[in-house]
């Protein structure tokens, strides 16, 4: 929830590259048990943000532009473009989340030593 909301708000005001920074910050502060969990959490949280928000924008437009873009990229249907949008966001967030997780543990180990 925190990742989803935080990233949406940050991206809305500061641009899409926040998709990498917010998950990184959150997993740095609150890491999960392992990096796979952090990656998956971040991936799916942002998959939801990117797909959900693009779907919301598209639906108020009755998918007029989505259909035109789907056709422009020779995609079979608009589900593909929403899915790709989500995956791109998810991958960026997942990579950011993993980085935050490792940064957390790297600094923690450094403190200990």
């Amino acid at each position: 929830m925190l990742i989803t909301l935080g990233t949406w708000l940050a991206c809305y005001w500061f641009g899409w590259r926040m998709t990498v920074l917010i998950p990184m910050a959150i997993t740095f502060i609150l890491p999960e048990r392992n990096v796979i969990l952090d990656f998956l959490f971040c991936f799916f949280s942002i998959f939801i943000v990117w797909t959900g928000y693009s779907y919301f924008l598209s639906s108020t437009n009755h998918h007029l532009l989505t259909d035109r873009m789907t056709s422009l990229f020779s995609m079979s249907n608009s589900i593909t473009i929403f899915t790709i949008t989500g995956i791109i966001g998810g991958l960026i967030a997942g990579a950011g989340g993993s980085t935050g997780y490792f940064l957390h543990h790297f600094l923690k180990n450094k403190e200990r030593s």
Binding site: G15, R17, W50, N61, L64, L65, D67, A95, S98
Partner: protein
């Protein structure tokens, strides 16, 4: 692996992913994927809500004189209300920028030769042409002329400032979709860019290189045959203006002789031919049902999305006008106000001449002119090409103008061109539209149009006092009427222009006794006009309009709309009965011949007879003009000349087929042979594909030719010879009919597009369907009391 290295690896992956997803892949034709697909600044943000009123905007601005109010109505047409004229143009600039920024940028780039910078090597040829012909010089000239009119410069600067107000307020999510797809960014607007848009209009309408095609035809036919096939005028035609002409003061004798002197040459140059045309007409109160004058105009231009036009109403204490503007240009170009209405068609008078250069030494750029040896200067143009190295083009400038094509490829000619836009002029064409927006009567119209010079236009006018008028307005060189149709000898100054037709002697007609005025790109004058000219003129549309105006009296707005949408083809009506008679006389019969004989010559979308007719006329042209029809660049005689020859001299040498050496064919044999070929061709076409609209239907393409942003292969009727002159790419780009009343002026308008340039907006193409069905919008001028139910959005600019 320690956490340190895991962290470094993850960070590296993160950065790599960001870079990869932010990098376009031009070879695969893919834009940068994350910037495009993210829902915060990517294309999704341009998915404008449908069925929702837009939130009102309050924009603080330091660049205005007073507060400004703009209502966007339910068609997204802005109604601008301001206290000063500068503010009105500021608001227009803002709205153009907000709705059509990419279109404005692309159009000005096409003129400045900077398309390759955003489109890549695919646009390089176009840029080279733009640089070679030196559009930039035309821009500089235009700015110079504007600077002579400081009051106009204030308004042009206000317009520019309005565009830039929008540009500076834009965040990335507001960038037009095309910038996001091309991965480039908008830049500041300037007065020079406005001048480029204005030159773009001149290039579309007045820049033709028919000299090359004529020279090729001359080479193949010889003088005598050429003159026979390409007369300057038909035996019978309806000029725009016919009257007793005043004699010019200057000595024109040496130009009036129809001498023939040409420079035989071979060419390998693409012909730039836009097939643009238009109709306008005005009738006085005597001919109308309501006893009110009516003016109609439909300029035929290449139809694209976004449309070339942007509809607008502007009201200040000094003016109140409604019509269409061109994004990037200040002012209403075609429109009306409470008192007057005005419209434009292209004159088609030739204002570009070509000269072959006689080099003494190409390496030192020296060439002959009369008995002198002159040196051409070198202009070095650096063209930025996206994803590639800059292209450098060296262009030689001669006495006549720039060398359009050099011989670096070994096959191109050394041809220099002189174009009227290369000349400096003291007039300010922007003032014409500004003054027409404010005009109240005939005098104001005459005063306003004196400032218009490029591109030459037939400017028609009507006012509510029942005056109508038309002027062939422009800067028309005085030159040899026949020689100028070819590439001329550039070593002979005799071939130069000897000045321009003086304003006082430009063809004009006011309140003719017959009560109507018509122009449809036909010959501007009868043969007695003292200044000879050549050009590419239409023989049929003007005459069809005249027939329909005479037949449908008393006229009203609805009847005018029917005339404007007529697909009756006078070319077919004059040719087909003649051809059918010849074929029948030769003993041939076929049900399709009977159909053609009974045909009403309507080029309807669902009829297949226009298809058959055009195939037949094409085949006939190929058969008769076999001497030149093999050459891809040669000019071909017009159908009206072919018909004249069939009727007047059926045994003319041109009817002889060159492949049959032992036999001499006549017109009749050509006609029967072409009928057989046409029939064979026609019968190979599937039934459904024979329909005219299916075969020749219009496509309205997006400026970047993106199919899903375009409307392709529409079932449309008409062709270039019908009043509704819809072809595969061109058509009536703005249809306007205005009834002028001292009490309430009414108009009907429509254009094939929409007010928004955003393919994600419901207002991008919402006018296309009504345009196709000939449904017009009824317009009246609105004072500052627009019905709230019609308001889509209110935009207010406020001083801080």
């Amino acid at each position: 692996m320690t956490y340190r290295w895991k962290f470094v690896f993850a960070l590296f992956t993160c950065l790599l992913l960001l870079i990869l997803l932010s990098t376009p892949l031009p070879k695969q034709g893919l834009p940068a994927i994350a910037p495009l697909l993210n829902p915060f600044t990517g294309f999704w943000t341009l998915a404008d809500p449908i069925d929702a009123s837009l939130p009102d905007l309050l924009i603080p601005s330091k660049n205005i004189d007073n507060n400004i109010r703009v209502y966007l109505d339910d068609r997204m047409v802005p109604h601008i209300y301001t206290q000063t004229e500068a503010d009105a143009f500021f608001a227009l600039g803002y709205l153009h920028g907000k709705n059509r920024l990419f279109q404005m940028d692309l159009t000005q780039r096409a003129i400045t030769g900077e398309l390759s910078a955003i489109l890549g090597p695919v646009a390089l040829e176009k840029d080279i042409f733009a640089r070679r012909i030196n559009f930039k010089k035309a821009i500089t000239n235009k700015i110079e002329s504007w600077k002579n009119h400081p009051d106009m410069m204030i308004l042009l600067n206000a317009y520019t400032s309005g565009v830039n107000e929008w540009i500076s307020s834009m965040s990335k999510k507001d960038w037009p979709l095309e910038y996001k797809l091309l991965n480039c960014k908008p830049s500041e607007w300037t007065v020079e860019k406005t001048a480029a848009i204005s030159i773009s209009l001149a290039a579309t309408l007045n820049l033709n290189l028919r000299d090359f095609g004529h020279t090729e035809a001359l080479n193949q036919l010889g003088d005598s045959l050429f003159n026979d096939l390409f007369p300057l005028t038909p035996e019978f035609y309806r000029p725009i203006i016919s009257q007793n002409w005043p004699k010019p003061q200057s000595d024109l004798d040496r130009f009036i002789q129809h001498s023939q002197s040409t420079t035989p040459t071979t060419v390998d140059i693409p012909i730039h031919d836009h097939h643009v045309g238009s109709n306008n007409w005005a009738v006085n109160a005597d001919l109308t049902e309501n006893g009110l004058p009516i003016l109609a105009n439909d300029p035929h231009l290449p139809l694209n999305l976004p449309s070339i036009w942007y509809e607008v109403e502007i009201k200040t204490p000094q003016m109140h006008s409604h019509g269409v503007s061109i994004p990037g240009m200040a002012g209403i170009i075609i429109g009306f106000n409470k008192h007057v209405a005005w419209g434009l068609t292209n004159t088609s008078i030739d204002v570009l001449d070509s000269y072959s250069i006689n080099w003494v030494n190409k390496d030192t750029h020296s060439y002959l002119l009369d008995n002198d040896t002159l040196s051409a200067s070198v202009r070095r143009e650096i063209i930025e090409v996206k994803n590639e190295e800059n292209h450098i083009e060296e262009i030689l400038e001669t006495y006549w103008g720039p060398i359009l094509y050099d011989d670096s490829a070994g096959i191109r000619q050394n041809v220099a061109v002189r174009w009227v836009s290369h000349m400096v002029d003291k007039h300010c064409d922007f003032r014409t539209f500004y003054e027409l927006m404010k005009a109240q009567n005939l005098n104001d119209y005459q005063q306003a149009i004196q400032n218009f010079y490029i591109p030459g236009q037939n400017i028609i006018f009507a006012d509510h006092n029942d005056s109508i008028g038309i002027t062939i307005q422009g800067k028309f060189p005085i030159k040899h009427p026949n020689r100028d149709r070819f590439i001329q000898d550039g070593s002979n100054k005799e071939n130069d222009w000897s000045g321009f037709i003086p304003d006082s002697l430009l063809p004009r007609q006011i309140n003719p006794p017959e009560g109507y005025l018509i122009s449809a790109n036909e010959w501007p004058t009868d043969r007695d006009y003292p200044f000879p000219y050549s050009g590419h003129f239409d023989q049929y549309r003007g005459r069809t309009i005249e027939q329909l105006l005479l037949k449908n009296q008393p006229l009203n707005l609805e009847k005018m709309a029917d005339i404007q949408n007529s697909v009756y083809n006078m070319k077919a009506a004059e040719c087909i009965p003649l051809l059918v008679r010849e074929v029948t006389a030769a003993g041939m019969s076929h049900p399709l011949l009977d159909s053609l004989a009974r045909w009403n010559f309507e080029y309807s979308a669902f009829s297949s007879l226009p298809t058959l007719c055009e195939i037949w006329l094409d085949e006939l042209s190929i058969a008769v003009f076999d001497e030149i029809s093999q050459s891809p660049i040669s000019a071909t005689p017009q159908i009206w000349r072919l018909r004249e020859l069939i009727q007047s001299t059926p045994n003319h040498a041109i009817f002889d087929i060159i492949n049959t050496k032992d036999k001499k064919e006549n017109a009749s044999e050509n006609i029967t042979m072409s009928w057989q070929r046409a029939l064979e061709k026609f019968e190979t076409i599937e039934d459904v594909d024979r329909k005219w609209g299916k075969r020749e239907g219009l496509s309205i393409k997006h400026l970047l030719q993106i199919p899903s942003f375009s409307h392709q292969q529409l079932m449309t009727g008409g062709n270039g010879n019908t009043i509704s002159a819809i072809t595969k790419t061109n058509g009536p780009s703005w249809k306007m009919i205005v009834e002028l009343s001292p009490h309430k002026t009414r108009a009907k308008v429509i254009y094939p597009g929409g007010q928004s340039g955003n393919p994600g907006s419901p207002y991008y193409d919402n006018f296309i369907q009504p345009w196709l069905s000939n449904d017009y919008y009824d317009i009246e001028l609105i004072d500052d009391d627009i019905s709230p139910s019609r308001v889509l959005q209110t935009i207010e600019f406020q001083l801080p």
